[in-house]
């Protein structure tokens, strides 16, 4: 059943400080809304739990990308389209461009934000695997101040986050890869646009000569939260590109993931395909010419 529009109220703070005051004044009462590409779907279906909405779209301090030596800081309100349009994102974080392009279709990319994609906390969201593979950190801000935490620690369980009622996710920070890097991103869905992932895998490897010095793999839609693949990563780390352990990595990955059966794919399908995509990535990596 549809939501009843007169039941809902909204506030439009003009600054981050005003927004934090409102959140602080009634902890948990106000639901932040930005691009609306997830919240409005719930609203239209009559399933939005909060009737008080805090519109963040006028918080210009949370928009845009700050390019500094060694790192990139992205405002939480930066849209998928804005990410796709940034030269520095293409040059340093190609998986982030691919993940933005894989999200919904253009009309969604024009409205949806990186911060929203994170705090909506869907395990099948497409940018989180890329953020995990790049070792992102997120900034959480409240009246009491702000704190940075590794993004890998942010999701604690299905839709459970390290985010207090008075806090907003304000910025995302990514260390720029140094030296010789390898980037891989693949989303497996029913079609290219508008499909929710069945399996999504992003990887970043740092190479020293022909050795994999470091590997980070981020996965979506194969666990209650977007997750890393520490066991598979450990199997590959230190290996030569000439002798990558494809099958051992595939097997180790099975202990890193905990997929479920749902309307989009079975747990079995997700296990097989996650393994296949990991091996596809490793074979592609083996062919890299650093």
């Amino acid at each position: 059943m549809r939501s009843f529009v007169p039941d809902f109220q909204a506030r439009v703070p003009a600054s981050l400080s005003e927004a934090l005051d409102i959140l602080e004044s009634e902890p948990g009462a106000w639901a932040p809304i930005a691009g609306g590409t997830d919240l409005m779907v719930l609203f239209n279906a009559g399933r939005l739990p909060s009737r008080k909405l805090l519109d963040l779209t006028r918080l210009f301090e949370l928009r845009g990308v700050q390019d500094e030596p060694g790192r990139l800081t992205v405002g939480a309100l930066t849209t998928f389209t804005e990410l796709r349009e940034q030269r520095v994102v293409h040059q340093c974080f190609p998986n982030l461009v691919k993940s933005a392009r894989a999200t919904g279709a253009l009309a969604i990319q024009n409205r949806g934000t990186l911060g929203g994609n994170i705090v909506n906390a869907s395990p099948a969201a497409d940018t989180p695997p890329a953020l995990l593979a790049y070792g992102a950190e997120v900034e959480l801000t409240s009246r009491a101040g702000s704190r940075w935490i590794p993004y890998a620690h942010f999701h604690q369980g299905y839709k459970v986050m390290d985010l207090a009622p008075g806090e907003l996710l304000t910025r995302i920070r990514l260390p720029k890869p140094e030296g010789t890097g390898y980037h891989f991103y693949r989303k497996v869905g029913t079609r290219q646009a508008q499909a929710i992932s069945k399996v999504c895998l992003a990887a970043y490897a740092r190479l020293e000569g022909r050795t994999v010095a470091e590997l980070r793999v981020g996965l979506g839609a194969v666990a209650p939260v977007p997750c890393r693949a520490p066991r598979a990563e450990a199997v590959v780390r230190g290996c030569s590109l000439d002798a990558l352990p494809f099958e051992a990595a595939r097997e180790a990955l099975q202990a890193d993931i905990a997929p479920i059966d749902d309307v989009r794919a079975s747990a079995h399908f997700r296990r097989v395909v996650a393994g296949n995509v990991l091996v596809q990535m490793l074979k592609d990596l083996a062919a890299a010419r650093p």
């Binding site: 909204a10 439009v12 590409t37 409005m40 779907v41 609203f43 279709a105 009309a107 646009a193 508008q194």
Partner: protein
């Protein structure tokens, strides 16, 4: 008393002022508030693109935009595509290529197609398909729509 807002924004080049509740959808503000019924509601969840309009120059699903975000914005709907009362080249191309069958997706498809050509004047087939990937059509199979867009890009339609 439910809270209402006065929204001042530009629709198809004209300054408009309407009363709306914060969570009225742009789609309803257009159709019911302003009588602009060219914009259609399909899925109501941002999947189908039937309600596509331009908001500040970018394609959006108007079913996903709450009124509270509209003050000061600029909106273009399918009604804003015609020029001086005549169909735009894209609209002509849709007619001459039989790119509309039942027609329900057509307003959103036209808005996305016009937007695509403003960003990329000569898209290849793949780029047209990506540009229109958020607009679903259950009748045409898309081939004639892609042909129509490319015909406009190649300047084959009388402007």
């Amino acid at each position: 008393m439910p809270e209402t807002l006065r929204i001042q924004f530009t629709v198809n080049g004209e300054a408009r002022s309407v009363e709306a509740r914060p969570m009225d959808r742009l789609l309803d503000v257009l159709r019911e508030g302003l009588g602009l019924t060219g914009t259609k509601e399909g899925c109501g969840e941002g999947e189908c693109g039937a309600c596509s309009v331009l908001l500040d120059g970018r394609v959006v699903n108007s079913c996903l935009v709450p009124a509270v975000q509209l003050n000061g914005t600029e909106v273009v709907t399918v009604e804003g595509l015609a020029r001086d009362g005549a169909a735009s080249p894209m609209q002509e191309a849709f007619l001459s290529h039989n790119a509309a069958q039942c027609g329900f997706c057509t307003p959103g498809m036209l808005v996305s197609a016009e937007d695509l050509l403003r960003r990329n004047a000569s898209p290849d087939k793949e780029q047209v398909r990506e540009g229109l990937a958020g607009n679903l059509c259950r009748c045409t199979g898309y081939a004639k729509i892609v042909d129509a867009v490319q015909a406009v890009a190649r300047g084959e339609v009388e402007k």
